[in-house]
């Protein structure tokens, strides 16, 4: 039952991603990416990682993609300004890569499931657990990320300001 749901969601995610790279219109591509990202959130939900699921939707589908779509709409590209669709060669390459990955995946699946399935600990993916991890095991990355974000903010303000 879970496997069926997983394969459906995974198929949606892959399909959305494929649509995203094959659409000529950037906006259609962006909307396909939203589909893919939400499907990904679905996979997180199936893994009982509730917080990550919500963050995925909130941050990617809700905020980042909205900004991406917003920017594309501001640019307001016309049909004739769009680049030519990728040539046949690139398409073949993509398909070949996809086939190679598919074969690899099939071999992996056929070669048997892992010996032991790791047990999901209590409270896995809950807000408390993630919060606790962030302030204990991952304290250092957590602090560094805040500096990274600060630099990003300062940098954007610096580059966008009218006068230095």
């Amino acid at each position: 039952m879970e496997a069926v749901a997983f394969y459906i969601i995974a198929a949606i995610a892959v399909f959305g991603a494929l649509l995203m790279i094959t659409r000529r219109n950037p906006l259609a591509g962006a909307f396909s990416l939203v589909v893919s990202l939400i499907a990904l959130a679905g996979i997180y939900a199936m893994l009982r990682a509730e917080l990550i699921f919500i963050l995925q939707i909130l941050v990617y589908a809700g905020a980042i993609m909205v900004l991406v779509i917003f920017t594309i709409m501001l640019l307001n590209l016309r049909e004739e300004e769009l680049e030519e669709p990728p040539a046949g060669k690139i398409k073949t390459l993509i398909i070949l890569a996809a086939v190679a990955f598919g074969c690899y995946g099939i071999i992996k699946v056929l070669s048997g499931a892992p010996d032991e399935v790791p047990r999901v600990p209590e409270n896995f993916g809950s807000v408390e657990k993630v919060g606790e991890l962030m302030l204990t095991s991952y304290l250092y990355p957590f602090e560094i990320i805040s500096v990274v974000l600060l630099v990003a903010i300062v940098g954007v303000v610096l580059l966008a300001k009218k006068v230095i």
Binding site: F31, V34, I57, G62, V66, I69, M73, L74
Partner: protein, 404 residues
């Protein structure tokens, strides 16, 4: 929900043959449909009538009063009319996205109802990420709005969609930040936990807990209005500038879906405010459930009743605001958000943390909530007095009787 599903499966043995997941899914869908038909649809429809009547009274006119008593059935007539209208797609529109957009907007709004706590145990799913879920799902609505705005291939739609996206994305920040003090005080994101953390009496509500939550309450409420594109922040659908904003090109049922979503959102704003700041379904009667014993269920019913009453009152306030205040300019709106709300909500978070530490050390601070409660009471009282005075000054021109 799970308890309910257990109960049903237990009483209907033939269900035990079917895998439990499917049963759960069916029960969930069933309740969702019920919710949609008997609550959201009904509520949205009736609100459309109420809003027009209130608007009429505020503007000293009558409003719809022909269909049914006092025009009460007007919404059914409108709904029927839209049902029968042609589902029109402009020739230049991007057909697929155009057709899809209303559903996304509607689904986003409707999905929020999953975590609205109507009563003790009366919640579709008490997710432990409750309030966070609301923020995430309602941010999805923007995608639908942008989709409709762009796919209509109409400059008003596009402008409306872009304004709406900019507005929702910016106001999401102060709204989320204004929720944080409440989460800090509760220690949980679950909706029921938040309600339980507030006492049954009004001065135990989070709105009056400390000066910072008091401010957070206003920031949240105003920010939520902006997120829902309500006046004074209805710039995305400003009639005088943009025809109707992102839904200009829509007609028939798809148009209704947009309005469905908008009125459903009205209720969501109210319900969230009640849950987070105004005590939710908590009533003094909840203190005495043990005493009454058998009456346990009726206390729950009373709680639900109180919850709905409070949120309906807030819905009325929102409608009232809409027909009283003028619209803000785009830049003013952004100023309010980024220059006032965001810094204030940050200060609120820090202030709440300090307050929590101080309150541990000095229990005297607990009394501040009574002062705040009195201050909070003064606000509606002052407004009421002003209204009465206005009525007295304009004696003859105003019809006080709402039923004409």
């Amino acid at each position: 929900m799970e308890r309910l599903a257990d109960y049903i499966v237990y009483n209907l043995p033939f269900l035990q043959q079917i895998p439990r997941v499917i049963v759960d899914l069916i029960i969930m869908l069933f309740f969702a449909t019920c919710m949609l038909l008997f609550w959201v649809a009904l509520f949205a429809g009736i609100t459309s009538w109420v809003e027009r009547r209130v608007a009429g009274r505020i503007q000293s006119r009558i409003g719809p009063n022909r269909v049914g008593p006092q025009g009460f059935l007007q919404w059914i007539a409108d709904g029927l009319k839209c049902f029968l209208k042609e589902d029109f797609v402009p020739a230049a529109a991007d057909k697929k996205l155009f057709l899809l957009a209303p559903y996304i907007v509607f689904a986003g709004m409707f999905a929020v109802f999953v975590v609205v706590p109507f009563g003790d145990g009366l919640i579709i799913s008490n997710l432990n990420i409750g309030i966070f879920y609301v923020l995430a799902i309602s941010s999805l609505v923007v995608v639908g709005i942008l989709m409709s705005g762009w796919s209509s291939n109409n400059k008003w739609s596009l402008l409306g969609g872009m304004r709406s996206a900019a507005q929702i994305v910016s106001y999401e920040i102060p709204v989320s930040l204004a929720i944080l003090p409440v989460i800090l005080l509760t220690g949980s994101l679950g909706m029921q936990d938040i309600i339980r953390a507030q006492g049954p009496y009004p001065w135990q509500w989070f709105a009056f807990h400390n000066p910072f939550t008091f401010i957070a309450f206003f920031i949240f409420f105003i920010g939520a209005l902006a997120e829902g594109n309500r006046t004074p922040f209805d710039i995305p659908e400003a009639e005088s500038e943009l025809v109707a904003g992102y839904n200009t090109e829509y007609s028939g049922m798809r148009f209704v879906f947009f309005f469905f979503a908008e009125w459903a959102n009205l209720y969501i704003i109210a319900a969230l405010t009640v849950t987070l700041f105004l005590g939710g379904w908590n009533t003094p009667a909840h203190l005495y459930t043990n005493l009454f014993g058998l009456l346990h269920r009726s206390v729950d019913v009373a709680g639900t009743f109180v919850f709905i009453l409070k949120s309906l009152f807030l819905v009325f306030v929102i409608i009232w605001i809409r027909w009283t205040l003028p619209r803000l300019r785009v830049d003013q709106m952004m100023d309010v958000c980024w220059k006032y709300f965001v810094p204030f909500s940050f200060a609120n978070i820090v202030g709440t943390i300090i307050w929590m530490v101080l309150a541990d050390a000095a229990p005297v601070l607990g009394y501040v909530r009574y002062i705040l409660f009195v201050v909070g009471l003064m606000v509606p009282l002052a407004i009421a007095m002003k209204i009465t005075r206005n009525f007295r000054l304009a004696k003859s021109e105003i019809h006080l009787n709402p039923f004409i």
